[in-house]
Amino acid sequence: MKLSLTRRLQLSIALLLALALLINLQLQIRSTRSFLEAQLSSHAQDTATSLALSLSPALAANDEVTAERMIAAVFDRGYYQRILWLDVFGKEKRFWESRPNPVAVPDWFAKILPIKAPESEALLNAGWAQKGSLLVVSNIGYAQVALWQSFVQWLLGSLFAFIALMTLVVLTVRNSLAPLHRMADAANQFIRQKLPMQLPEKIVAELEPLALALTRMSQQVVAQFNAQSEQIADLFQRLHKDEVTQLPNRLALLSALTQREQKSTPYKLIAMRVQNLKEINASGGFLQTNQLLQRFSDELLTMRHMEWYRLSGSEWVALCDTATQAHIAQHAPLRFCVAELSLDGSETISRCLAQIDEALNEAANAPTGKVSRQTHETLSGELWRSHLQRVIEHESFLFAEAHVTDISGELRGVELLPRTRAEDGLLHSAGAIFAQATKWHLTTEVEHAALRSILSCPLPHKHIYLNVSVNSLTQADYFADLVTLAKSYSLAVEMSERELLTHVLPFKVLSELRQNNIGFGLDGVTMSADLLKLLPMLRPDYLKLSLSLTDAGPSSALLNAVVKLGQSLEIEMIATLPSESDSSAWTNASVKGLLLPPIEPA
């Protein structure tokens, strides 16, 4: 098991403290024992000398009975283990002994720390004559009890001291290492690129070089990122313009449509197809044709409230509000048909492009050369509201699965796209559901109901991608349910580029996602300038690139620049493939990223 520096220091100090206290305990007990033994010796000698002096008159009178009684009286006080009365020749005359057995002292303690009872001798005289000697040994019982009590007190004291000191040690070590921990946190964040790297304000002298190194590394990464961002912005500019007319091209239209899709509000598309371009080219030549087209495009640009894009060689598309009325004047010799499409904001980009094509084909065959189409609302406003409230209450969601695979085709995860079933059995798409939810301010409730639906039925997949809004992420109960889901699956939440740029995502939320091992990504990424500014700070786990970046194919310089940027920031790139694209071209490409096949409804 790896121990942190803090834990190692605390354990080392704890061991040293324990050792010091044990040694101290041992020294104290031995010292106490020595003292007690000296006391016993002194006590025995005093008694021997005093008793021998007292016995002199009795011995001088040859009264051994009185002498014996005097010794017995002293012995019976209980303070002596042994008293021996020896004659002049050293032979034992009388012997008194008691066995010390203090029950208050454990046997193991008495064995480890035995107390020696020194023997003290005093001469017995009767006048000038020697009458023998007295040997006195004090009773060690009292000393053993005193030693044991002393040991217990010292042991308890040492334990309390150890606990108190360890508490101090833990706090002191923690406080002392706090600067290091702060630096480690900042370094960790930098390595993992999970949160913006913020160096702590209080840095001790020893860590200043480290802080300096981290700052420089961080600055280098930012500088590298900025260089790449500039490159992308430059490429964006160059590759999103039509060479002939200088109008925004197909890629720019795809980007604009992505943002419209994320906005989920109704808008209008005015599509135009020049029907006689071939003849004009044949008669006037390409140069003349180009000049004509330039003049035509300049005229289109004068039309207010309309954003014009050159979709292809003969097709133009304008984006505008639903209220805008388009009056496109004839521009001889060009002959064109016009299709007007009113959309509710729930259509996917692919669907939009398909509808443009269909409408222009219809307009080309119409007698007036004009056609107008309107997306039919599947439900009226009030019915949508009722429908949404019903699905919220009953948590009755279905889910389509969009598979995310890597270049080898191995499944990496599944994006769950909510669907609801109308009363007539039709399935409402996620675009339609959330477009209406936004309209009726029910987005958070719908997202939470969808999440609870997922929680209530187990899924066969290991890795799940889930779309969320900023508002939902900041709701405590929604977040709690996310954490619950993350315990059962490898979970990543994602939001649209537009959602991120429109609402402020608190960094605290990002931090909590990381702490709960929940991934974070962005969907429908167009690499706008505003997003490029936020990327170094956000460091999402992945970006799902919109069609505007992948439509040009895997060899597109812009796409490669974007992928390179992702590699430098260690952000995975997931490419949304155009529906008519050749998957094998992407498989063989050198673009390192994950592939996302076209979404199919459940």
Binding site: S34, E37, A38, S41, A52, L53, S56, V88, F89, P118, E121, L123, N125, G127, W128, A129, Q130
Partner: protein, 210 residues
């Protein structure tokens, strides 16, 4: 406890003699040389040693501790006793006792006895010698040069007898000379080590542990 190993090879340390001469004069040095020669005596019967030692030390002047050392109850070593040429009854007794031990007289035959000098009505101390444990002891005293049996010393009333080395050790301890040692053997080693510093050669300082 003590055995005589080489009676002719006792020599006091030259530094000691030089110091004694410097502090107390030539006569003091000569007294110590005399003592050195006494210690180097050939092996003889105990009684002859008793006589020589008693005569030797009884030449020293009797001076009270308070007058001599400006202290009460100071027990001088034999060297201090001879160097300063003065001491009281304890100093006489101890000096005789230690010298006799050095000369090979068995320790268990010698006792330091507390007595009352009846004629002087004073506390007194003498050295007694027991030829056998139950024999009447002989008294070595600084009040008279003649060694007499205890029964003939009607001028002295015995109070109590001590083993000489025990008494000496007790005194060393009370004077703070012996600190931290608890057993008798260790204490005695300490004392002998300090005495040994004053001798260049002193075979009698080798212990014979029983």
């Amino acid at each position: 406890m003590w055995i005589l190993i080489a009676a002719n090879s006792v020599e006091l340390a030259p530094e000691l003699l030089a110091r004694i001469e410097k502090n107390h004069g030539k006569e003091a040095r000569e007294r110590l040389i005399d003592w050195q020669n006494l210690l180097a005596s050939d092996a003889q019967e105990d009684f002859m040693h008793l006589e020589k030692v008693n005569q030797f030390f009884n030449r020293v002047q009797f001076i009270d501790d308070i007058e001599h050392w400006k202290k009460t109850d100071y027990w001088a070593t034999p060297i201090e006793f001879l160097a300063t040429n003065g001491g009281d009854c304890e100093d006489f007794s101890i000096a005789k006792y230690l010298t006799l031990i050095a000369l090979g007289v068995p320790e268990q035959k010698l006792r330091i006895t507390y007595v009352k000098a009846l004629n002087l009505n004073q506390a007194h101390m003498v050295l007694t010698y027991f030829a056998t444990p139950d024999a009447e002891p002989l008294v070595l005293d600084n009040l008279m040069n003649e060694i007499r049996p205890a029964g003939q010393r009607t001028d002295l009333a015995p109070v109590y007898s001590f083993n000489g080395s025990d008494l000496w050790l007790a005194k060393e301890r009370s004077q703070g000379q012996l600190v931290g040692k608890s057993d008798r053997l260790s204490l005695w080693k300490d004392v002998m080590q300090r005495l040994a510093k004053d001798f260049k050669k002193a075979p009698f300082l080798k212990e014979n542990e029983q």
